[in-house]
């Protein structure tokens, strides 16, 4: 059996090998993230059967929780680690050909650290440890957004940094208050103590932690940085930020609110926030003329949809929300990767410059269409299965308010359909402007895009096994007693 610690330790070790490898060969540094992701994929496949039946608790250094730090590799954490490795693999192959300017070594080092941070957040069982991994994720993404050092990128990165740093300050303050109240940092121990104390006293740390994590998760009033950062970053980084970073933020919010605080009274509030996030994101996306900015706003909308589904808080809807999260990672990652080379070839980010792209870049256009249709939620793609699961479970839960909110969310989805169809129409049915440049994407870009597109179709055609695993993950998130029992003897 592979220990889940290796999911964090091996990528971290490889990340720090990059400067050494870089001394020998600059090109070889690009292979390190691929190596790390391949290792993680294999490890996840080996760990997953055991984790699905019974969560694996790893005691770091042999200290028993709540005194030592422990990792909690339940179904949710391991599935997330697999998703990170999968998206990370696709993006790191893509970056081999795409990233040619600047210090390539530093790019790959920061990129791998970002993945380490994401893996750490989803696997840890200690709130301060979560904070540290979260900071690794955030700091490397600030640096990567401004990687090219151009005007837009630096402006976006500095805005992102200031907002993100305020968020992590609030998060740390919340963690400090929790420690002052309960004298422990272990999530399971905190959950047990919060359950027995009850009342309003835990509201202050809960509010601080949700608003701190909410900045990275791009929940509605806290997401002003996202459209700038996701659209100005290099395209592979946009893909990983949209596909992994905000999802990990959402995971952290859900883990804290549901498992640690067990704050079911907070759910109605988060549900409203989710619906508001969907509408705000999709309406802003509809007005965009810049394709990457449109995709960035659409990420806000999708985050809102996931948050809405999670906070309906029935086993089906939480599983549906996680499914939507997965299909968004695959779909939006694919869209940013495809858009990256279209922009690279046409030299402009305006949607009108993509006119007639299908004749110039057939494969890239095809996978863009697959990603867009999946995001809209059309069969036979992954987005259809996940949205169907959300709608079905929310209607099964019933209630007037819930149905109204679901209606608002579906309006958002319709708007999303409208603008994504617009782009697909421009790519396939508008005439190529005279003198437009364009050439096919290189193999290093086509392989990861086809990989993601194939995954979207496979998950869309056979959603059964994925949905089954996600139901286990949902109960991992919702069942506090099992979580506490698993960690504390």
């Amino acid at each position: 059996m592979v220990s889940p610690v290796l999911l964090i330790a091996v990528p971290l070790g490889l990340a720090f090998l990059i400067p050494l490898v870089g001394m020998a060969s600059r090109r070889a540094t690009g292979l390190m993230p691929i190596l790390a992701c391949l290792f993680n994929l294999v490890a996840v496949v080996l760990i997953l059967p055991a984790a699905l039946s019974d969560a694996i608790v790893v005691r770091i250094g042999g200290f028993a929780p709540p005194f030592g730090i422990n990792l909690y590799a339940g179904p949710l954490g391991v599935l997330f680690a697999g998703l990170i490795a999968l998206a990370g693999l696709a993006v790191s192959i893509y970056a081999l050909g795409y990233i040619r300017r600047g210090s390539i070594r530093r790019y790959h080092l920061l990129y791998l650290l970002l993945l380490v941070g994401a893996n750490g957040v989803v696997l840890t069982g200690d709130v301060f440890n979560l904070f540290v991994f979260f900071e690794i994720l955030c700091i490397s993404s600030y640096a990567l957004v401004g990687y090219f050092g151009d005007r837009g990128g630096l402006e976006a990165a500095s805005k992102y940094l200031v907002q993100g740093a305020v968020g992590s300050g609030l998060l740390l303050l919340g963690i400090g208050i929790l420690y002052g109240m309960f004298g422990t940092l272990n999530m399971a121990d905190l959950a047990a103590r919060i359950g027995s104390s009850g009342g309003m006293s835990v509201f202050v740390p809960l509010a601080l932690i949700v608003s701190g994590l909410g900045v990275e998760a791009a929940i509605f009033p806290l997401n002003a940085w996202l459209p700038d950062a996701h659209s100005s970053a290099p395209s592979p980084i946009s893909a990983i930020l949209s596909g992994i970073a905000i999802e990990v933020g959402l995971y952290a919010v859900a883990r804290m609110v549901m498992t640690v605080f067990g704050a079911e009274s907070m759910m109605a509030f988060l549900m409203f926030l989710g619906a508001a996030t969907v509408l705000a994101g999709e309406m802003c996306a509809f007005a965009q003329r810049d394709v990457k900015r449109m995709l960035a706003y659409s990420s806000i909308g999708q985050v809102g949809l996931v948050l809405f589904a999670l906070s309906v808080f029935s086993p089906g809807s939480v599983a549906g929300g996680l499914f939507q999260l997965l299909s968004h990672t695959l779909g939006k990652g694919l869209l940013f990767l495809a858009a990256g080379y279209m922009i690279y070839r046409s030299g402009s980010r305006r949607i009108s410059s993509l006119n007639g792209m299908a004749s110039r870049m057939p494969i890239t256009s095809l996978v863009f269409a697959v990603g867009a249709l999946s995001l809209i939620g059309l069969p036979p793609f992954a987005g259809f299965a996940s949205k169907l699961m959300i709608v079905g479970s929310v209607l099964a839960r019933g209630g007037t308010m819930l149905t109204l909110l679901l209606g608002a969310v579906l309006v958002g989805t319709l708007i999303e359909g409208a603008y994504l169809f617009g782009v697909v129409q421009a790519i396939y049915f508008r005439k190529t402007p005279a003198g437009a440049e364009g050439g096919r994407a290189p193999v290093s870009a086509v392989v990861p895009m086809l990989l993601l597109a194939a995954l979207i179709v496979v998950v869309g055609v056979w959603p059964g096994p994925v949905a089954e695993a996600l139901r286990a993950a949902a109960s991992d998130l919702m069942d506090r007693t099992a979580y506490m029992g698993g960690v504390l003897p």
């Binding site: 837009g152 630096l154 402006e155 200031v162 992590s168 300050g169 400090g176 420690y179």
Partner: protein, 119 residues
């Protein structure tokens, strides 16, 4: 008076956090915003230390504490603060490096003037 007396460290620390937040919100100069960030970080760190503080407590060193463990200050928040300070320094350094590059591009650090990206 006793409430104030027993909570004076918490109030000071939270006051620093609020001062930092205020600076970030009302100043437009990026350097000043970064200073605000630093003040806020200091406040949070001070709060963490205050959580583990006990008046007249001894240093959390095992040999001395063995004689009277109850008089020892809590070592865990101090370890947390060490980590948080390192993280804060890293963020600060990155922010200042970006500010230098941004000034090179725009010739100003006024965030009201650096607004090429819009909604």
């Amino acid at each position: 008076m006793s409430f104030l007396e027993s909570n004076v460290y918490y109030m000071g620390a939270l006051g620093l956090v609020l001062v930092g937040l205020l600076v970030i919100l009302v100043r437009h100069n990026l350097i000043k915003m970064i200073i605000g960030l630093s003040i806020m970080d200091t406040g949070v760190n001070l709060f963490l230390v205050a959580v583990g503080y006990s008046r007249g407590g001894t240093a959390p060193i095992f040999s001395r504490a063995a004689s009277d463990p109850a008089a020892m200050v809590d070592p865990v928040p101090q370890a947390l603060v060490l980590t948080a300070i390192v993280i804060g320094v890293a963020v600060l350094a990155l922010a200042l490096a970006m500010a230098v590059r941004l000034h090179g591009h725009h010739g100003t650090l006024d965030m009201r003037k650096i607004r090429e990206l819009r909604w």
